[in-house]
């Protein structure tokens, strides 16, 4: 592999760091042990940290439930779902147990559930889902959606430090496609959005892999003289409304882009907040771009029309700039 640290490598290194720094941390998931995980996110960790990187049976409900119990007892478990899509089999434990524990008992539940999220060509309906909005809907959960190598590293380290359950949505498409020169020494805290590209004419609010589609669209539009501001939410629960409003105050126009389905998506939430709290900042009706409202199709040609692409973001932005 050519040089640079990949997004996947950053996730592996972050886990190596927290395992080294904090004896309470352990990793639990299918094939995470000597095999190193379906995506190799835990490669060599079982060997480096004997007894702390455990292969689980094919039992998502048990994986999360075990992590909850361990968290109550003071551990800091990291659960790896093989695919975000399979977290539905552990859904009950996540939303009804981990998400409610602190509110009900006053005892916090410090666990991290890593969800390999989002689509890849040929992934099909059950290996492509983006579930962040679903988990964000439930109280008691923190939901992170890193879109850069640096964030994948620093946010995962912070996720482990956070006393509440964190749903860590790492994007599969970025695993090996995204590289950085070095790991960050400092980072924005969770809950704070980043200005990924400054602009003047319109704001794109996005996160995860869509960040790169948005940045590509902004780059294309810059050759036509448009300056598009791109806000990377980074954490989608809590959402950094202030940064979004600040950006919209500069540009007057908002496009929200997400790879998830449109109904009740992060886009819907961002637009609701901007419309109610920042209506007077808007020069045009806020727009959103989501995946289509069907299961994620298998065929790569269908898939690339199902999800927002840089070309689709660009078209939406041109429409928005005309309004």
């Amino acid at each position: 592999m050519s040089g640079g640290i990949t997004y996947l490598e950053a996730i592996r290194l972050a886990q190596a760091k927290v395992l080294a720094d904090d004896a309470r941390v352990f990793i639990y998931g299918q094939d995470v042990g000597s095999f190193g995980g379906a995506f190799k996110a835990t490669e060599h960790l079982a060997k480096e940290f004997p007894g702390r990187v455990l292969d689980s049976p094919l039992s998502e409900d048990a994986m999360v439930g075990m992590a909850i119990g361990a968290a109550i007892e003071g551990m800091r478990p990291i659960v790896e779902m093989q695919f975000a899509d399979f977290s539905t089999c552990g859904f009950n434990q996540i939303v009804n147990h981990a998400g409610t524990l602190f509110y009900r008992t006053g005892v916090s539940c410090p666990l991290v559930i890593r969800l390999p999220s989002g689509g890849t060509a040929g992934g099909g309906p059950f290996h492509s889902q983006s579930m962040e909005a679903l988990y964000a809907h439930y109280p008691g959960l923190v939901v992170m959606t890193p879109g850069t190598v640096e964030d994948a590293y620093s946010m995962l380290i912070e996720a482990v430090a956070i006393d509440d359950p964190v749903i860590f949505c790492e994007h599969k498409l970025l695993y090996n496609h995204l590289k950085a020169e070095a790991l960050p020494s400092e980072a924005l805290p969770a809950g704070q959005a980043a200005l990924a590209r400054p602009g003047r004419d319109a704001t794109v609010v996005t996160y995860g892999a869509m960040l790169h589609e948005a940045l590509a669209a902004a780059e294309t539009l810059s050759s036509d003289g448009y300056e598009i501001e791109v806000v990377d939410l980074r954490t989608i629960k809590p959402i950094d409304t202030d940064t979004v409003l600040g950006s919209v105050a500069r540009t007057g126009r908002l496009l929200c882009v997400s790879e998830a389905w449109p109904w009740g998506s992060v886009c819907a939430e961002v637009i609701a907040r901007v419309s109610s709290e920042g209506f007077g900042l808007l020069d045009a009706p806020p727009q959103r771009l989501n995946a289509k409202d069907t299961p994620v199709p298998y065929h790569p040609d269908l898939w690339s029309s199902h999800r927002p692409t840089a070309a689709a973001v660009e078209a939406s932005l041109r429409e928005l700039l005309r309004m």
Binding site: Q30, D31, G33, S34, F35, A38, D55, S56, P57, L58, S59, E60, D61, A62, Q82, F83, D85, F86, T88, C89, A121, G122, G123, G124, P125, F126, H127, P262, W263, Q287, R288, L289, N290, K292, D293, T294, P295, P297, Y298, H299, P300, D301, L302, S304, S305, H306, S316
Partner: protein
């Protein structure tokens, strides 16, 4: 509940028929792997090499009016139940003319209206679905129907397995649950998957009849699975069949299965059921080497011709796609932006 093993003598005709389906499955999967490695199949390719004897035994004993929900390593069972080389290739190559129309791919295919259920990736999920189908058939007064579904050792750890099998047992449904214990769930060995000595022990816990088959022995698989299906059809309630064998390929074609040790590969479990069946045929003089070679040739010709045909077929056009996930178009949620 007694744990039984089929004892009826094998039939030459059935053995040959099963062998030819296994051979078709094996050669078709070889082609699929090749198409994947030359970049023509996108997504995943999951093969059943080493599991054909068990799988074919399920498909071959089911009637057209039965229900079959295969899993990822059931190419042989699928073909025996009525799936075709054409639809297999169409689904893998994403042809618009395939049963899944490019919307889903590879092993995620089926024709539910023909009793051939399309699996989802979430393991164990088909067990309650097949059970529900059987409940419906019974409610409608249909008798003599069997529903079969296949899982691996990994799926036995899921909630859906437990809930589905328990519910089927409570309803005494004619469910045949075939468990191919291929020793690894992706990379996870049995030792990290379950702690009972034998998966067959589970039959006792759920109150269903258990059968043990030798997964590499076609004759035994045919007998045991045939008996289980027969018993279910005759009102014996849910049956589970547990067969030990070894996956002779990676989890998918992206996986080189380096975690499978050479010891187990060299063990009795690691023998190739297809080679053993071929040897048996020659041994029994049910067919000559020359005949088998001609079957192989015919099969390869069919696969090649079908591949060539499918490669020229249209793939789905996103601009023509209706993007509609509900059957009643009036209920489509129209997102204006």
């Amino acid at each position: 509940m007694p744990v039984v093993s089929g004892q009826t003598p094998i039939l030459q005709e059935q053995f040959i028929k099963a062998f030819r389906v296994m051979l078709l499955a094996r050669l078709l999967e070889k082609k699929l792997a090749s198409l994947y490695r030359s970049g023509l199949i996108r997504g995943g390719v999951f093969l059943g090499k080493g599991q054909e004897a068990l799988s074919v035994s399920v498909g071959i004993h089911l009637n057209k009016s039965d229900i079959f929900a295969p899993l990822i390593r059931d190419q042989a069972g699928r073909l025996a139940f009525g799936d075709t080389v054409l639809d297999t290739l169409r689904t893998y190559l994403g042809s618009q003319l395939g049963s899944m129309r490019g919307r889903d791919g590879n092993i995620h295919r089926g024709r539910p209206r023909e009793g051939y259920y399309a699996m989802i990736s979430h393991l164990g999920a088909m067990i309650p679905a097949v059970s529900g189908a059987l409940l419906a058939r019974r409610m409608r007064g249909e008798t003599g129907v069997v529903g079969a579904t296949c899982v691996g050792d990994g799926a036995t750890s899921t909630g859906a397995f437990h809930e589905g099998l328990n519910a089927a047992a409570v309803e005494k449904l004619p469910l045949v649950l075939v468990i191919a214990n291929n020793q690894y769930a992706y990379s996870t060995p049995n030792s990290r998957q379950f702690a009972c000595e034998d998966l067959l022990d589970k039959a006792i816990g759920y109150g269903v009849t258990g059968h043990r088959a030798d997964g590499v022995d076609l004759a035994d698989c045919l007998q045991v699975v045939g008996a289980a299906i027969h018993d279910a059809r005759e009102g014996g309630g849910p049956q589970i069949v547990v067969a030990k064998l070894l996956r002779l390929v990676g989890h998918g074609e992206h996986d080189d299965a380096h975690y499978i040790g050479s010891d187990i590969k060299k063990s009795a479990l690691g023998r190739d059921c297809l080679a053993l069946a071929e040897a048996r045929i020659l041994d029994e003089q049910w067919a000559s080497e020359k005949e088998i070679a001609s079957w192989r040739k015919d099969i390869n010709e069919e696969i090649e011709a079908t591949t060539a045909k499918v490669r020229k077929e249209p793939t789905p056009d996103p601009t023509e796609e209706d993007w509609c996930a509900v059957s009643e178009a009036r209920l489509v949620d129209n997102f204006l932006s």
